[in-house]
């Protein structure tokens, strides 16, 4: 579905991606992990058309994305839930969800407003509130719900757990799992590598703008280097929270 080939891109004059290649197939949940500044967000923004690429290819369902404007990429069904939620705080919760439909273009919706509210009941209860007045977790749900309103074929999530309490992170990740099980293709960028690797089927590790490791999520999670660099300091938490 998504095929990235030897992608190079710069951000603020510094080369942030050095020939990244990556694929996401239909129905997969792929995790992209790496340290702060490894180029994860730049990669997502390159895919979404916000950061221009210098060279390489991004193909979505066989169509070249580079050179397209962000709005047109969104309307193809390639939707990003950006880092820090980026909800439209001056607009109401309801209006935020309605705006999500803009990405539909000529495509038909896959998620109705009712279904989204069923998934995140809090969005129904607060639909007339200013989105800016929601808590961080509620805002994240709104951002995901808003993405669903646009009938995504591929959902890009940038750090959905950032700044959220562990309990809320659990909720968000369980929703992502359910969505994926229901057939939604997801590319998940996370600093919380351990959690990401738990729910993803495959994973890529990005370091200084290059893919240094990739493979099935459990294989990556077992890699010594990955454990040392990305999972090591979370070992205590991991022992409490073993997957079933």
């Amino acid at each position: 579905m998504l095929k990235i080939d030897k992608l190079t891109a710069s951000y603020s004059g510094i080369t942030a991606l050095h020939g990244v290649s990556l694929t996401v197939s239909k129905g997969e949940m792929v995790a992209l992990i790496g340290a702060n500044g490894a180029g994860k967000s730049t990669l997502l923004n390159c895919i979404s058309g916000i950061v221009p690429s210098d060279s390489g290819q991004i193909l979505f369902n066989g169509q070249e994305l580079s050179g397209r404007r962000p709005a047109s990429i969104a309307r193809m069904g390639l939707l990003q839930v950006p880092e820090g939620r980026q909800i439209l705080s001056d607009l109401s919760v309801y209006e935020n969800l309605q705006l999500g439909q803009l990405a539909l273009g000529n495509r038909s919706p896959t998620w109705s407003h009712e279904q989204v509210v069923e998934l995140f009941p809090v969005l129904g209860a607060r639909q007339n509130q200013r989105a800016g007045s929601l808590s961080g977790g509620e805002q994240q749900m709104l951002a995901i719900g808003r993405g669903l309103m646009g009938a995504p074929e591929l959902l890009l999530l940038d750090e959905p757990s950032l700044g959220l309490a562990p309990k809320i992170v659990d909720q968000v990740f369980s929703v992502l799992t359910r969505l994926n099980e229901a057939g939604l293709t997801i590319l998940l960028v996370e600093q919380n590598a351990r959690r990401a690797l738990q729910i993803a089927s495959r994973a890529y590790v990005l370091e200084r703008g290059m893919v240094v490791h990739s493979g099935p999520a459990d294989v990556v999670a077992a890699d010594k280097k990955v454990v040392t660099y990305y999972l090591g300091n979370l070992a205590d938490a991991a022992s409490q929270d073993q997957p079933a």
Binding site: S48, I50, R69, P70, A71, A74, R75, L79, Q80, P82, Q86, I87, L88, S89, D90, L91, E95, Q98, L99, G100, L102, A103, L104, G105, G132, R146, G150
Partner: protein, 296 residues
């Protein structure tokens, strides 16, 4: 006299609000302080006058002036602001660019008019006043008040009840997030600049008609007042622009009516400072500070 002066103030305030709406729309949505707004307003008055001089009926002159200034405003965005926007953080550069545009337009008008003050021909609008609750109201005063109410209503409807308006507010709240949702910012810039120019042109023709004078420098005092309205109402708040515009009109009129005339500006600006001491973000400034936080 008080009732009459309050009404006078209300009409003047409606004019300020009309002027400030477009000014504030562009600032509120795009964070562009377009100091050429006064010049666009002036061009509107001239285009309206030339249309009437060419023998067109007044309604057509309004229409032509509004479309002309709407397109002019879009063109200014294309030529002066868009290239700067591409370079990233350019709020200050755009402010300077807008001053440049203002100077060009004012000087063109100076040349075209030979620095003369022009006016609409007599009899183009009825001047016979009517009386209401002891107040003397000219048809034009009534029209200005009505047009202001209509414009505010239409703008509010557009922004809060239509899909386009929702997109405009989305860009205002967070341009990048809006882009990721499929909003095409170029279309939004086109709309806001067109509407802003259109409102400026409308205000220009109305004021040219109401106050019998059209000249190259007519935009400057209104720009200054528009600025006061913007600060007083809260940067980017359209509700604030309306309330502050009306308040400014009434305060200014009452101070002219009851105090020595030389003190008017002193009174108006002292009150502005007093309001800012109590509410540093203006009367309706809070919403914007939220938007700003989200933007970072």
């Amino acid at each position: 006299m008080l009732a009459q002066q309050l009404f006078n103030g209300l009409v003047l305030g409606a004019v300020y609000a009309l002027f400030a709406l477009g000014f504030n729309l562009v600032f509120g949505v795009h964070k562009i302080m377009n100091l050429a707004h006064g010049a666009i307003f002036m061009v509107g008055a001239f285009v309206g006058l030339y249309s009437v001089t060419l023998g067109l009926p007044l309604w057509a002159a309004f229409l032509i002036a509004m479309v002309f200034t709407g397109l002019l405003s879009v063109m200014i965005d294309f030529v002066a602001f868009r290239p700067l926007r591409k370079t990233g953080d350019a709020e200050f550069a755009m402010l300077i660019a807008s001053i440049g545009v203002e100077m060009i337009l004012v000087n063109l008008a100076l040349r075209a008019s030979d620095a003369r003050t022009l006016r609409f021909p007599f009899g183009i609008v009825p001047v016979e006043p009517f009386f209401l609750f002891g107040m003397r109201i000219t048809p034009l005063q009534f029209v200005i008040a009505a047009v202001a109410v209509l414009c505010v209503t239409l703008l509010a409807f557009y922004l809060y009840r239509t899909s386009f308006g929702r997109q405009v507010r989305a860009v205002s709240s967070n341009e990048r997030a809006a882009m990721l949702l499929g909003v095409e910012p170029r279309m939004i810039y086109l709309q806001t600049f067109f509407i802003s120019g259109l409102l400026a042109g409308l205000a220009g023709v109305l004021i040219g008609l109401a106050f019998n004078s059209i000249n190259f420098s007519m935009g400057e005092p209104y720009l200054l007042r528009g600025f006061v309205v913007l600060i007083l109402g809260g940067l980017g708040s359209l509700r604030g622009a309306v309330v502050a515009g009306l308040a400014l009109g009434i305060i200014q009129t009452l101070s002219v009516a009851y105090f020595p005339t030389g003190l008017t500006d002193i009174i108006v600006y002292s009150l502005l400072f007093a309001v800012l001491l109590v509410r540093p973000n203006g009367l309706f400034g809070d919403a914007v500070s939220d938007a700003r936080v989200a933007r970072r």
